[in-house]
């Protein structure tokens, strides 16, 4: 019998190629394409970085000279040691800042929790290098506001504060990375049910004993995880150490890497010198995942009875005082001095009406084509990077979720891999891979866009993955069985359902991309300056009014995007812990 159905099954031609083409799973093509893109963005830069560390600068022959150069000088080793000190001190301080605040907001009846929340969101919004600028105004030796106030109050000759020091550096970095500690700990504490605490209470333990013996230990894996993240954040930062450590004449790994890049750039040496940073980061991320994955802390699995706030009694106000103290270090005081400087003729003349001016902002926004270009570039690069990262992440997440190809996990792994690569190392990799023909991207906008896209690909992927997982595959099956193709299903059902989630993903990539400094500093050229680089460049001139004005523009951009995010996604979209 010859009927329509059998004819359709045989459609596609009778030739051998037709047969092969018809039976070929077409999604393989997309898979190969995406593998290609990921090789280009993730694998090649890292491989080239590794390779170049063993290559002679000019001849390209195999050599260990780069490693010998990088590790045989005392001051280079000292920079490594400084980074370790910096990382550990910062992580300790982050714990001291973040854990009590998380406990207070999550578990107690402390007043004004909303204010603390908003302030912590504020610390996310201020890039840490801008915080460093603010702290130079606050605690610069002698001229800093805090020193001047101290001198005025006590009458002594010299103020006690000096931000150009290791302690200064630690405080400033901790001010802007403790929110990780806060978010991690809070989300763990949010899952501890009051019944756990009741169980301890009924056995005779008081509030403090319960908190220290039951509640906090339950959050330990999360706290340790955040400790590691804070450590890694601190050793990977470039901007803040460059602003604070260099004037104090000490180096950390990232600033040392930058110096290897001063003309003539020693790429091989820099690559060799970056290896410990890369290895430590990868190792600690692995450890962090192990900690968070560990079983046994059943309380963290979620279901739990009601939760009642712990009554703090007379400790309510001191607790709030501590929270506000931390917030004033990271947000309130910096905001005040930055705003003052941005609108001041000379920031040192203090708060008076005749010191007010709009000249700085006018200079930044109107007079200077350089800053206008940088603003334009910032938007263009961050927007393009977010778009590229999100499209790529979406394809990968769809393929992995729907199990369209055999080795989807490889794609997922590569998409998440940049998460464990410090931005500065990634930039080195891009530099090593794409400064020579045939792929001469250095000096173009593309190298910045692609580096940003790669750097924030994991954020985009975690977001897309969660979004797609929330779409029941049966919704697509229903389209197909009624006669629509997979593309129809994606267009008519998946895309409309993902719209909101994807807007959120876009914003979550866009925000860090607008302020990214540590990878941009290695890859920009005169024509492709962005605001973060411009701000860093201008810091040499010591013109803090202009610096503050640029910073203000940057913060306003971020605040506007965050507000759009609020409208689209609800209030907690930035502080939600992504499942990375």
């Amino acid at each position: 019998m010859t009927d329509a159905t059998s004819g359709k099954a045989a459609a596609g031609g009778n030739s051998a190629f037709g047969q092969w083409w018809r039976n070929l799973d077409k999604s393989v093509i997309v898979w190969v394409l995406i593998i290609g893109v990921l090789l280009f963005l993730v694998v090649n830069p890292l491989a080239r970085l590794f390779l170049v560390s063993f290559q002679h600068q000019d001849s390209g022959t195999f050599t260990l000279a780069n490693y010998i150069y990088a590790y045989s000088r005392w001051r280079y080793l000292q920079a490594l040691g400084n980074s370790l000190t910096l990382g550990i001190s910062t992580a300790v301080l982050c714990t001291a800042f973040g854990v009590p605040m998380a406990w207070a907001v999550s578990r107690t009846d402390m007043p004004a929790k909303g204010l603390v929340w908003v302030s912590i969101l504020g610390t996310f919004i201020v890039p840490s290098y801008l915080g460093a600028v603010a702290w130079i105004l606050l605690a610069g030796p002698n001229a800093g506001w805090l020193n001047r106030i101290f001198m005025a109050l006590t009458g002594v000759e010299r103020g006690p504060f000096n931000v150009y020091s290791m302690p200064g550096l630690v405080v400033v970095i901790a001010c802007y990375s403790f929110p990780y500690m806060f978010v991690f700990t809070k989300s763990a504490l949010d899952l501890v049910s009051s019944e756990m605490e009741d169980a301890a209470n009924i056995l005779g333990a008081g509030i403090w004993r319960t908190t220290f013996r039951v509640t906090l230990p339950l959050a330990t894996p999360a706290i340790l995880g955040a400790f590691i993240i804070s450590f890694l954040e601190a050793i990977a930062l470039f901007g803040t150490p460059a602003l604070l450590a260099l004037p104090a004449r000490f180096q950390v790994v990232t600033t040392q890497l930058w110096q290897f890049f001063e003309f003539p750039p020693k790429v091989g040496v820099a690559a060799a010198y970056a290896m410990p940073l890369l290895l430590i980061t990868m190792g600690l991320f692995w450890l962090q995942r192990r900690l968070l994955a560990r079983k046994g802390y059943v309380a963290l699995t979620g279901k739990g009875g009601e939760r009642r706030p712990v009554p703090l009694g007379r400790w309510r106000w001191p607790m709030l005082g501590y929270c506000l103290f931390v917030c004033s270090l990271s947000v309130y005081m910096p905001a005040v001095v930055l705003l003052q400087a941005a609108f001041a003729k000379a920031w040192g003349r203090g708060f008076s009406l005749d010191n007010l001016t709009l000249a700085n902002l006018k200079w930044v926004l109107v007079d200077q084509t350089q800053t206008q270009e940088a603003i334009y570039n910032t938007f263009l690069f961050a927007g393009s990077a977010a778009l590229i990262a999100l499209s790529l992440a979406l394809c990968i997440a769809y393929i992995v979720n729907r199990q369209l190809v055999r080795f989807g996990n490889v794609l997922a792994f590569l998409a998440m891999a940049p998460f464990v690569i410090p931005g500065i190392v990634l930039a080195l990799g891009f530099y090593a891979a794409y400064t020579n023909p045939p792929l001469m991207l250095y000096g173009t906008a593309w190298i910045l866009i692609l580096a940003f896209a790669t750097r924030f690909l994991p954020i985009a992927y975690a977001n897309s993955h969660a979004a797609i997982r929330s779409v029941n595959p049966e919704l697509e099956d229903a389209v197909r069985i009624l006669g629509g193709s997979r593309l129809t299903a994606i267009r008519r059902v998946v895309a409309p359902l993902l719209k909101r989630g994807l807007a959120g993903g876009f914003i979550l990539v866009f925000i860090p991309a607008t302020r990214e400094l540590s990878s941009a500093i290695f890859l920009y050229s005169i024509k492709t300056q962005v605001l973060s680089v411009l701000l860093f460049d201008k810091s040499d001139e010591g013109n803090f009014e202009i610096l503050a004005a640029i910073g203000l523009v940057l913060v306003v951009i971020t605040v506007i995007t965050v507000l759009i995010g609020f409208r689209l996604l609800g209030r907690d979209f930035m502080l939600r812990r992504t499942t990375a």
Binding site: M1, D3, A4, T5, S6, G7, K8, A9, A10, R22, N23, N472, E474, L475, D477, A478, V479, R480, I481, L482, G483, G484, S485, T488, R492, V493, P496, L497
Partner: protein, 356 residues
């Protein structure tokens, strides 16, 4: 000519065989259920018919044309089937009307024709007044009806249902069983229905295929399936039953302390060696006095060891004299016996189904 046919269909996932050597043929307009416990391969079979999964071996045919084989399969969208999913899979971004009209739009029908058909089917499932609602604004039962309307309105060659009632509450589920059967009687679409609920299968189906561990255990109409189960699994899965083991010795089948002449069983020719029978609790009568042995039934003395009153019926456990057997007996509410009372069991060998 069968409308839909599965020949020797096998599906392996790595080492594991989800469906083994599956054979099934459906007549035009027939309603067949795949019934079995979870993990028996029924949903995998359904998804192979739909074209979402390719068989590892064997073929699936519609009207005699192959639509699935290990080497080339027609994609789901070209099979002109439709399916109702366990989650209903109502698209939340479209209204009821848009959901139902979707399949017709894909088929490029004229707008007026689409409107007429959609409105007609929405009346059939009693949702006409809700056509501009979004799915989130509907109850579970109403969503279920939307799924039904959306699947049926395109007049599919074959309709597939994957546990469509499992997310509804008990009352609604019972109502929807009859609804589905009524709809089928009205439009006569060839239907494959996957469920783990025997009552659902009994109410809706022309035939039921009982599946276990990837194989069909038995396929029959509901009456035969219940009255004459062929395997221990089927007898135990559909309703409750008593298993009685015995041995053929000469012209008699010897059980535990009682025996029955071989000639009194159906299909007595096939009986030899060790044999097992399934006997339904309703097929045993209890008597206070020995009934006059006239109708050829077997009568045994026994004792009530357990009883429970369930309102609609009595549930007794009775042990034949000297035997280790314990037989479940269902009796009508007025047939009251006391615990430990001596009774007479009357059983009809014709109702004892020989099982493998």
């Amino acid at each position: 000519m069968s409308k839909l046919a599965l020949h020797n269909v096998t599906k392996r996932f790595g080492e594991y065989s989800a469906v083994k050597d599956f054979n099934l043929e459906l007549r035009e307009g027939e309603f067949v259920s795949l019934l079995g416990p979870s993990g028996c391969g029924k949903t995998t079979t359904l998804r192979m018919i739909a074209g979402f999964i390719n068989p590892s071996s064997g073929t699936i045919e519609v009207d005699g044309g192959v639509i699935s084989s290990p080497t080339s399969s027609l994609p789901p969208e070209k099979r002109s089937m439709s399916m109702i999913f366990q989650s209903y899979a109502i698209w939340p971004n479209m209204t009821v009307y848009e959901n139902v009209a979707f399949g017709l739009k894909i088929r490029r029908l004229a707008a007026a024709e689409i409107r007429r058909k959609v409105e007609q089917i929405l009346e059939v499932v009693q949702l006409g007044h809700l056509k501009d609602r979004y799915p989130a604004e509907l109850s579970g039962g109403q969503q279920q009806r939307v799924a039904l309307a959306r699947a049926v309105v395109v007049q599919p060659a074959v309709l597939l249902l994957d546990e469509p009632l499992s997310n509804l509450d008990a009352n609604l589920r019972e109502e929807m069983r009859y609804e589905i059967r009524r709809l089928h009687d009205e439009i006569k679409i060839t239907t494959v229905y996957v469920t783990h609920d025997q009552a659902e299968a009994m109410v809706t189906s022309d035939r039921i295929a009982v599946m276990n561990l990837g194989r069909i255990e038995q396929i029959d109409d509901p009456f035969t399936l219940y009255a004459r189960p062929r395997t221990r699994f089927v007898a135990g899965f559909i309703g409750r039953t008593n298993f009685i083991d015995g041995e053929v010795r000469g012209e008699r089948v010897e059980f535990d302390h009682f025996g029955i002449d071989l000639s009194r069983f159906e299909e007595s020719a096939g009986l030899q060696g060790s044999v097992s029978f399934s006997l339904r609790p309703q097929s045993i009568q209890l008597h206070r006095h020995s009934p006059s042995d006239g109708n050829g039934d077997v009568v045994l003395p026994g004792r009530v060891t357990q009883r429970a009153y369930l309102g609609e019926h009595w549930d007794y456990a009775v042990t034949p004299r000297d035997s280790a057997l314990s037989l479940r007996v269902t009796a009508r509410p007025h047939e009251v016996f006391k615990l430990d009372e001596e009774v007479w069991l009357e059983l009809d060998p014709h109702q004892m189904s020989h099982i493998r």
